[in-house]
């Protein structure tokens, strides 16, 4: 073909001395690949995945507490004191950072008092709730509820999103109620329910606030809960459980971020000064 003196222009309506199937080198010059794709750093990924780990830690803590109360008859005061102290301290911090702190403190106090007293009153009822049911059905029910919680949990990776984990929290509270009904004393029921509510109901809200304003404390909390959970598993359960626990955590904290970064190379987002064509299948839009 004879080389044309006139350069090719991407204009359909002007007659040009080029054949119909001609493709110029400059045709795809405006194509951009992965222009809006965010590249995750390993650090960011670890801090995100640590949220999953944190959730697992809190789950583990409540179940360890249950196991301790149910099987080993451990004292209830130490864990409860620790969790309550942490809750109160966090509450104070949380409120002091807020502008209309007085109202918030009043509300929080009122809520916590209402919850505590209700649990206190309901604990005999809860104790007798599943008395005639066999333990196996309770274990399977609570396992199902934990699985439902893991599925529905909102890990809240993006802080700008609204954090409203209603279903997952409710599932966990129901599970705690079911487990609490296995205890033989009212005090244990009360302690366990209070502990669960502090850890699953109040702590996630504080944690969101911590992640926004006091990131180191959030990391500290993650680390602390992880260590306590690991220590308790080491102390109270057999070695295989500890191994499974460690493997699970290392997978979540190390291998999953690495795998995620490896997967990033498959990202292939195209953008250009054109509308993206939508293929019409079977003649219908």
């Amino acid at each position: 073909m004879e080389k044309s003196t006139q350069p090719w222009r991407k204009l359909l309506y002007t007659p040009q001395p080029y054949p119909d199937n001609y493709t110029d080198v400059s045709f795809l010059s405006q194509l951009k690949r992965n222009s809006t794709v965010k590249r995750y750093t390993f650090r960011k990924l670890i801090s995100d995945f640590s949220l999953v780990s944190l959730h697992l830690n809190t789950l583990a803590l409540t179940h360890i507490f249950f196991l301790g109360l149910y099987s080993y008859d451990t004292r209830i005061d130490v864990p409860l004191t620790v969790s309550t102290t942490i809750s109160v301290v966090l509450l104070l911090f949380y409120n002091s950072s807020d502008n209309s702190s007085r109202v918030v403190i009043q509300d929080a106090l009122k809520s916590s008092l209402v919850i505590s007293f209700t649990i206190f009153t309901l604990s005999p009822v809860l104790k007798s709730l599943s008395e005639s049911t066999s333990s196996d059905s309770i274990w399977s029910l609570s396992f199902g509820l934990v699985v439902a919680n893991l599925i529905t949990t909102d890990y809240h990776f993006n802080l700008k999103d609204k954090f409203n984990p209603i279903v997952s929290t409710n599932v966990l509270i129901a599970e705690a109620t079911v487990l609490a009904s296995r205890f033989n004393s009212d005090a244990k029921v009360f302690a366990f329910m209070l502990f669960c509510i502090q850890i699953h109901g109040i702590f996630p809200i504080f944690d969101t606030w911590l992640r926004e304003f006091h990131v180191p404390i959030h990391h500290l909390m993650t680390l602390a809960t992880g260590s306590i959970a690991t220590f308790c598993i080491y102390k109270m359960m057999e070695f295989p459980w500890l191994l499974i626990w460690c493997i699970l955590h290392s997978t979540i904290l190390v291998f999953c971020p690495i795998y995620f970064i490896l997967l990033q190379k498959y990202k292939n987002e195209l953008q250009g000064p054109w509308d993206i064509a939508k293929p019409i299948l079977n003649g219908t839009d």
Binding site: L122, S128, T177
Partner: protein
């Protein structure tokens, strides 16, 4: 005489009343010496032959003043009745003038009587005295409109434009033609009374007709004498009747009175009150009903009941008959109860009250307390509920049964005495007594239904909270909602507790529902017996058996001696039982329908409004 719908009905008179026959065979073999004139009654273009005059010469008829010779040479019937006239002749034309408007009847090739441009249909004349009747469609057994009831124009509109088959002009014409036949006998009697000479021309095959006529008048004479003797009494009787009617209307008003508070009416709770109400209503309606039917008959001086009053007539006699039956049965029941009083009291006390209602119920409650049938219930709750109900049973026994036990024979006497007013009263009193005896079970059912229903609805709304939703009652939809932490936690806690307690409550609810339904079925069965005794269509059934022509279900055509023969079709069994079947359907609707069953499942208390069934039949 033109038009496609004009029919003629030659009458084959084979009636029982005076055994007048018009043998067709004669007509065929006859020579020219005997001629006949057909007198007819015309109504709406259909022509009914009511009599036939046989003669040798017209002059004889004119001489005996059967016929009248008009000025222009034509002849006409010598009577004042305008709608009976001569329509035609058989044989020679009776007069030179005027006969051209008449029809000529002749024998066709097959030897049948025929007429040009008209069709001949034979029929048996219905006897008004036996209340025989031709109708195009089955007679209405319902009152078309209750006399007291005011219907809205909307209801009327639905009634007329409902999914019935459209009424065509042909239908109307046919109906009118068929109903013309009912007047045949009356017109004929009128004709014969006005022209008595006509009888001499009849072929009367009965010798003792005169005697029979005399004998048939004897009851009337007796009645007339009685009426004359009782006349002074009748005024007193009338006033007594009016007073009794007013009293009964007052009683009805009292029983139907709505109390100022939300109490139910007396007839809603008591079968006896309902039965009394029914009888009083029947009593106060009876004179009106009687006057209605008899006055209608008298006003026409023909003893022909108009078709629209037929339902009223049937109901009047059905009611009377059923009341008499009921009282007779009541005497039997009463004497049976009196004779076997002791055995009945023993069986009732031993098996029904002490066993079923007390010890069996107690043992069921005890059984519910500890894992019935392996179902794991909440021990504390079931123990509480079981204790609670057993305590009420104990109280019931102490307060009601222990006081009633020495007086069982009195109760039986009450039932037997009330049976004297009719078996239905006995049944009603028994049903009420049963309701009072099992009052506690019904309230157990209501209480457990209330608990169960409350728990179910609480679980439902808390489940919405569990999912972070709430019901928007203003817009009838479910919205998502941000609950505060304490609402959420407490809601979930209570939700879990209620869900765990639901099976226990459900078991108690089921137990009491089943017992209450069994009792309800027993009272329902008693009620059905009552409605059978009160509303069984006995009169129409017996009329149907005795003389089906009294209760026509339309007309049927068949071939008879080569003519089209129109005869009365007896009413179908389903039509006869239609009002009754309706009640049975309502009974089934209120005991065994989808809303009732869902109500039972959800724990909505199910009430049976027995009053409803009676409204249908009133």
């Amino acid at each position: 005489m033109e038009g496609s719908y004009k029919r003629e009905r030659a009458k084959a008179c084979r009636t029982k009343a005076n055994r007048l026959t018009l043998p067709f065979a004669d007509w065929r073999t006859n020579t020219s010496s005997i001629h006949r004139i057909l007198c007819v009654y015309v109504n709406h273009s259909s022509v009914v032959v009511v009599n036939v005059i046989t003669y040798n010469k017209v002059v004889e008829l004119v001489d005996t003043r059967v016929l009248r010779l008009e000025a222009n040479g034509s002849v006409s019937l010598n009577c004042r009745e305008t709608d009976v006239s001569i329509v035609g002749y058989f044989g020679d034309a009776p007069a030179k003038n005027g006969s051209q408007h008449w029809k000529e009847f002749f024998l066709d090739d097959k030897g049948l009587i025929a007429c040009r441009d008209s069709m001949i249909v034979s029929f048996e004349p219905p006897l008004p005295r036996s209340m025989q009747l031709y109708t195009a469609s089955p007679i209405e057994l319902y009152l078309s409109q209750s006399l007291n009831e005011k219907t809205s124009p909307y209801v009327d509109m639905v009634r007329t434009h409902g999914h019935k088959r459209a009424f065509t002009p042909q239908d109307l014409h046919f109906t009118q033609s068929v109903e013309t036949l009912n007047r045949c006998w009356i017109k004929r009697t009128l004709l014969l009374t006005q022209i008595p000479q006509m009888q001499q021309t009849w072929l009367d095959d009965s010798i003792c007709r005169q005697l029979r006529q005399k004998i048939s008048q004897i009851p009337y004479m007796i009645f007339r004498i009685m009426a004359k003797m009782l006349k002074p009494l009748s005024i007193t009787y009338l006033y007594t009747l009016i007073a009794a009617r007013h009293i009964s209307l007052w009683l009805i008003y009292i029983m139907n009175m709505k109390m100022p508070s939300n109490l139910p009416r007396l007839i809603d709770i008591s079968a006896t009150a309902q039965q009394i109400d029914l009888r009083l209503q029947q009593f106060s309606y009876l004179p009106i009903q009687y006057l209605h039917t008899s006055r209608q008959m008298e006003s026409h001086k023909t003893k022909l009941l108009p078709k629209d009053q037929f339902a009223e007539y049937i109901r009047l006699y059905n009611t009377l008959w059923l009341v008499i039956n009921d009282v007779t049965l009541g005497y039997v029941v009463s004497s049976f109860l009196n004779e076997n009083k002791n055995q009945i009291v023993n069986v009732f006390d031993k098996y029904v009250v002490s066993k079923v209602l007390y010890s069996d119920l107690n043992s069921i409650l005890m059984w519910l307390m500890d894992a019935p049938g392996g179902i794991k219930l909440n021990n504390e709750l079931s123990a509480f509920l079981s204790d609670f109900f057993r305590w009420i049973i104990e109280f019931w026994k102490m307060a009601l049964i222990d006081r009633l036990r020495p007086n069982y024979s009195t109760v039986i006497r009450i039932i037997s005495v009330s049976s004297l007013f009719g078996a239905t009263f006995g049944i009603a009193v028994f049903s009420d007594m049963l309701s009072i005896l099992t009052f506690h079970i019904y309230y157990f059912y209501l209480a457990s239904a209330k608990i169960y229903h409350g728990q179910l609805s609480a679980i439902r709304s808390l489940f919405r909270l569990f999912c972070g939703q709430k019901k928007n009652v203003l817009r009838h939809r479910v919205d998502s909602n941000d609950y505060t932490l304490d609402q959420q936690l407490l809601g979930t806690l209570i939700f879990t507790v209620l869900s765990f307690l639901l099976p226990t409550v459900l078991i108690f609810y089921l137990t009491f529902t089943i017992t209450a339904v069994v009792i309800l079925l027993i009272t329902g069965l008693l009620e059905m017996t009552m409605s059978l005794l009160n509303h069984f269509p006995l009169f129409i059934l017996l009329s149907r058996v005795k003389d089906y022509k009294r209760v026509p279900g339309g007309v049927a055509c068949s071939s008879l001696n080569g003519y089209i023969h129109l005869r009365i079709k007896p009413i179908a069994l389903t039509d006869m039982f239609a009002p009754f079947r309706n009640v049975l359907q309502k009974l089934q609707e209120s005991y065994l329908s989808a809303p009732v069953i869902t109500g039972l499942l959800v724990g909505r208390p199910v009430y049976v409004q027995r009053n409803k069934f009676y409204k249908l039949l009133k």
